[in-house]
Symmetry: C2
Subunit: 262 residues, 2 copies
């Protein structure tokens, strides 16, 4: 009974008429904690499969605002760095719906509701956005279709529905290419961090290791780091310095590209 | 009479049922000639206004293929470097249709054909692609709505319909940021070129002048240029050298970013 009831009040049903057909958004929300780059994922109720947070675009809503809405709903945060990176429009996105176990379960669940069933079977072109969030400040919230909303390290990503693994990889590629033009460190690191924290972040995004002394020398030369006290955890002579960003210098450098070569 | 007849056979009418609603593509096709960066534009029949080449996406067509189709139809070329750069999805794109003189003329022209009239009045989210074409090899062809298809220098762009000027600027911004990752020189320059040709191309994309000796020194250091004979036009002692690209080195450098700093 309660199951049937849920079918009748599918959260999509009452929204469909107000949505733009054929268009959706998907968000790759990135965070950084314990020297690991992480992505915020949803676990779907009807299949247990994981997915990127996403949604549809309202007829009276800007595309960017739709992504911002999804981001706020999942993280509870409004002032997050958000940027569009690619639009996914292959025909395969539709045909895969019929063979993807995660999506198939969602389709089957809505079989008796013609309107929702047809809507989710439509071909959608999806615009991908990535966001840089401070994990320490987020409060992940599942959406109506999900049972969990969690941060997963990019080095141990589960199998995602449809082309969501591809979308995630493309976001990371884009981030690597645009590294010099995006406030990566400013958005993902805590206010004070060690040089190693910063290097591990760059390495996670670039997907390769960097030479420690070269990294430190080049970073300091840019003039956007301010040296603070030492991080006292072990022996004083081995304690690393903490750094923070000089925001004004950082933002000025971003305008023409930081000019950091790896 | 012939005017009414044209209204009846609007090229859109028979296609609409096969098109995906809400989605379009616009192409910023760039070329380089006489040390000028140029964009391929269409002049619309019904208003004389200029527009980027664009089109709709067929229900059975990949988004990228729609852009490729537009590109081939306008330039007559199939093997051109084409890349998506941004999707334009603001609500303003629709509201501007009613006040933009160029688009208004198109709407008015189709007033008696309800199907076409409603279609062109719809809200469209448009994915922008840019292409790098060799002007010397293209044969610009107007589409069904246009009377002219011409290369215009980016330093003297006419007023374009809707948000097409914005789309063009965004393409150039993207090109500037991605300069180290795109085969700009390889796609836009003739097989042999002078160092000045190359520098002017970079300057046109970056929108600022670069120091001549620094540019030459850094470019040569990358190892992707091969020095050829001198270009003999004036006094032999002032004749500049011609260069060509070492394609293998160029393509290898592109993979991790050329690493050229300006």
């Amino acid at each position: 009974m309660s199951d049937n009831f849920e079918k009748l009040i599918s959260p999509l049903e009452k929204e469909i008429d107000d949505l733009l057909p054929s268009i959706s958004v998907d968000c790759v929300i990135l965070g950084y904690k314990n020297q690991q780059l992480k992505v915020l994922l949803l676990q779907w109720k009807h299949s247990g499969k994981w997915a990127l947070p996403g949604g549809f675009v309202r007829r009276n809503e800007n595309l960017d605002d739709a992504a911002q809405r999804v981001l706020e709903q999942r993280t509870g945060l409004s002032k997050i760095f958000l940027k569009q990176f690619h639009t996914f429009g292959s025909l395969e996105r539709s045909t895969i719906k019929q063979i993807d176990a995660g999506y198939k379960a969602l389709i089957d669940f809505h079989k008796q509701n013609k309107k929702v069933y047809e809507w989710i079977n439509n071909r959608f072109i999806s615009t991908g956005y990535f966001a840089l969030a401070d994990i320490r400040k987020t409060h992940p919230i599942p959406d109506a279709f999900s049972q969990k909303c969690e941060w997963k390290p990019i080095t141990a990503m589960p199998d995602l529905i449809l082309d969501h693994n591809t979308i995630t990889e493309k976001a990371l590629d884009y981030l690597g290419v645009q590294l010099n033009y995006l406030p990566i460190g400013l958005s993902l690191l805590p206010q004070k961090f060690t040089m190693q924290d910063l290097q591990k972040l760059y390495e996670a995004i670039l997907g390769r290791s960097l030479d420690r002394s070269n990294f430190q020398r080049k970073m300091l030369k840019l003039g956007m780091l301010v040296r603070k006290e030492k991080l006292m955890t072990g022996a004083a002579n081995k304690a690393p310095y903490l750094y923070s960003f000089n925001r004004a210098v950082y933002k000025k450098l971003l305008q023409e590209g930081i000019g950091f070569s790896y």
